[in-house]
Amino acid sequence: MKKIYFIFFFFLFYISYSQNRRKLDSLLTLSKNSPAKDTEAVKLYNTIAITFNKTNLDSSKFFCEKALVLSKRLKFKSGIANAYNSLGIYFRLTTGYDSALKYYTLASEIRKETGDKKAIITSQNNIAIIYSLQGNYNKAIDLHEKALALQKTIRDTIGAAYTCNYLANVFNYLADYEKALQYYEKARRIFEKRNNTTGLMQVYNNIGIVYGFIGNHDKAIEYYNLSLEVCEKTGDKKNATAALGNLGSAYQKKNEIELALKYYTQSLQAARSIGFTQAEAANLSSIGTVFQSKKDFVSALSNFKQVLQIHEKSGEKREIAQTNLRIGTLLLEQNKTDEAKACLDRSAAICKQLGVKDLLLENYSAFAGLYKRKKDFKKSYEYLGLYSELKDSVLNEEKSKNIALMQTRFDTEKKENEIASLTKDKAIGVLRESEQKANIRKQNIVLGISLTGVLLVLVLVFIILKGYRDKKKANSLLEEKNAAILAQKKILEEKNILVTDSIEYAKGIQETILPAIEEVLKWIPGCFIFYKPKDIVAGDFYWLKVGTKDEGRGASDDSVFLAACDCTGHGVPGAFMSMHSFYLLERIMKEKKLKSPAQILDELNFQMKDTLHQDKKDASAKYGIDMALIKIEKDTIEFAGARNALLVIKDKELTEIRADRIYIGGSKEKFTNNILQPEKGSMLYMFTDGYADQKGGKKSEKYFSTNFRELLKEISVFSPEEQKNKLESAFEEWRGSIEQIDDVLVIGVRI
């Protein structure tokens, strides 16, 4: 599949190249003949820069910078923008995507100021292409779509078609072939309507490629043929080479080998007739693989050797390495181990020189196979070792990139040192010659010895000095870094204090919603509350509401509501939710005067959805509250639970009143109201999940609900105050040095 792209891209490169040569020559003459330093000169430099983009990148950059300097001096805005844009192209082509993004953005900002819509669109598309190359596909799609919308407002239909083509490319990367096809089709319709043959050739070809991807080779062939037709009509032999090559590849995929050969050969001939060597090599290589699959090793070999010749002529090292690898593997299949080894050695040498890891990896694997055939298992094993080692390093690409960078630095330093010592050697030679001329042998010897001595000392001094300087440099660098780190640390510490201070203050606010324990005990005498937030502020809270007679309806005088609540999250986000839930509960009690716990939970559920807008489509309830709520009225207990149960323990016998598995703030169901009359002396427990979920013990695992229940049974016979202490010490003992995971809340009530 890669091959298809390969031919296609090479091909476009070629067309521009031949047309450019002539254009470039005339432009360069023009720039030499007009020494003026005006906006026209800027325009000329920019045009030259763009033209050079396709042939000589360094020259392109040179002219970009020339244009930039002059246009800045002239404050010629569109000139500056164009120069930035060309620099962006330069960095894109040299894969410096971050820099490319920077320059494209600079260009785009200036163009927004000047309001040149066509230029703005170009910038948007350029930036989007970088995003797409960086794998930032959503942003790429976003920007292309913006460009498309803008093109519609200025009725730039052909431009829109090209943008559709770009968009389709992005979807192609994303393997969203449906969408890719949709956009290619859009582009196709426009190109067909306007009879834009250049666009049509491309878009037909691209549609063919997508169909190839999704395995519909018949359709792919149909489109490559369409592309070919346009090429033939316009007499465009170069694009025809691509279409023919892609046809060959499609037939090869369909296993129609003879047809594949026919098209590859046609493409080859077309490439040769116009001297398009890259395409020639690609086709020869494809034909070689066809022969290889037919086990016709002699023909395959002859093809690969031709490929090798072409690449050796053009000096494309990577290709040379790849072809040598291919030939080596081929020879290996024929058991010609010695010849194979020679090829693999050549390939390996180049790979190592260029640092091409993917090829080298294949190379090692081939070597391992070679030595296995030669029954030299030790070497085979060694190569397997090298293979897996390299594979690891390829995986750690980030790391190896840094190492490569350091290596280059080290090498250049070494070279500099070598040059320095060479110059010195030369100097010594000159000195010696002049001494010989004086013909004073003795002196000469003495001088020679002393010179060597001096030189040795000099070298020593040089080495020491250099070492010292390097060290000093490194030290001062370290110091600088240290200072920077310290400064940052100080800022962080200050910020931390500020944040902690404000959270401490927030704690005060949150505490206002928690009733004082004395207040709770006043209404529910046999009660304890074990409350242990994870952070300063918490998502767990408990709530007390006392019924009042004078408000008429609603709770009667003797009834008390008590709840254990657990809001999603802990810390600051949890605290926000707890304040919000508290406010809603208070409001419900004040306005609705509801009588049963289930009614209160139903209303809370409704208002939570309403206030957090969670009833809207798509918002699948990310914020909510779990709670257990009881109403105590004389001997009768009413209970409703949102995912948190009520436990009743009497004489160490445990009864669970299960909660409804309803998400408050999410579900539409109604809560169940449970009415019970527990025996005198029973303990009621309400709690959040923090206790049972706490990690600890020897194996650092959860406490688990079952253990928590056992613990409650054990302690239920003690007084509420003792129970609280026992819960606390059991918790701390379990937790040990492990941090608290969530807020913890356990409420016990003795009936």
């Binding site: 994303l174 609900s705 995971i741």
Partner: protein, 134 residues
């Protein structure tokens, strides 16, 4: 589609999303500081994976079965909502005709964890859930 490989931390689970070897796993402890930031890319990944399944089905003849292993020992309530979102994504994938399932692993002593799995399964009935105690 790029694979996602996240090593576990004290607050985030191990995540393996490896379409090449068809291995999907979320295991360990989940209580990220910013749950949305942690889970959104994962949920989106499954949403986008449909195009790959489409490709597999249409060009390779059949799509690979998508089976995700949840092997969590703790998750907080905010994580729960996102785990449910992943269930919903699989439900959607299943409804479009591809094979998908959830394997819910739980410690035999951890009744809460088993119940959570059952609850998710009830909320997303369209995707089959296999329960495996260990």
């Amino acid at each position: 589609m790029e694979p996602i490989q996240l090593e576990p931390t004290t607050t985030t689970p191990r995540v393996i999303i490896d379409p090449v070897n068809n291995k999907f796993e979320i295991s360990g402890e989940s209580r990220p500081e910013n749950t949305s930031k942690f889970f959104t890319p994962i949920v989106n990944w499954f949403s986008e994976y449909k195009s790959v399944l489409y490709y597999q089905k249409n060009s390779l003849g059949s799509s690979k079965k998508l089976s995700i292993d949840f092997k969590l020992d703790y998750f907080n309530s905010t994580s729960a909502k996102f785990i449910l979102d992943i269930f919903f994504q699989l439900e959607k994938i299943k409804s479009e005709g591809y094979e998908a399932e959830v394997v819910w692993h739980y410690d035999n002593r951890d009744t809460d964890m088993k119940e959570s799995g059952e609850e998710f399964s009830k909320l997303a009935p369209g995707v089959p859930v296999r329960f495996v105690g260990f």
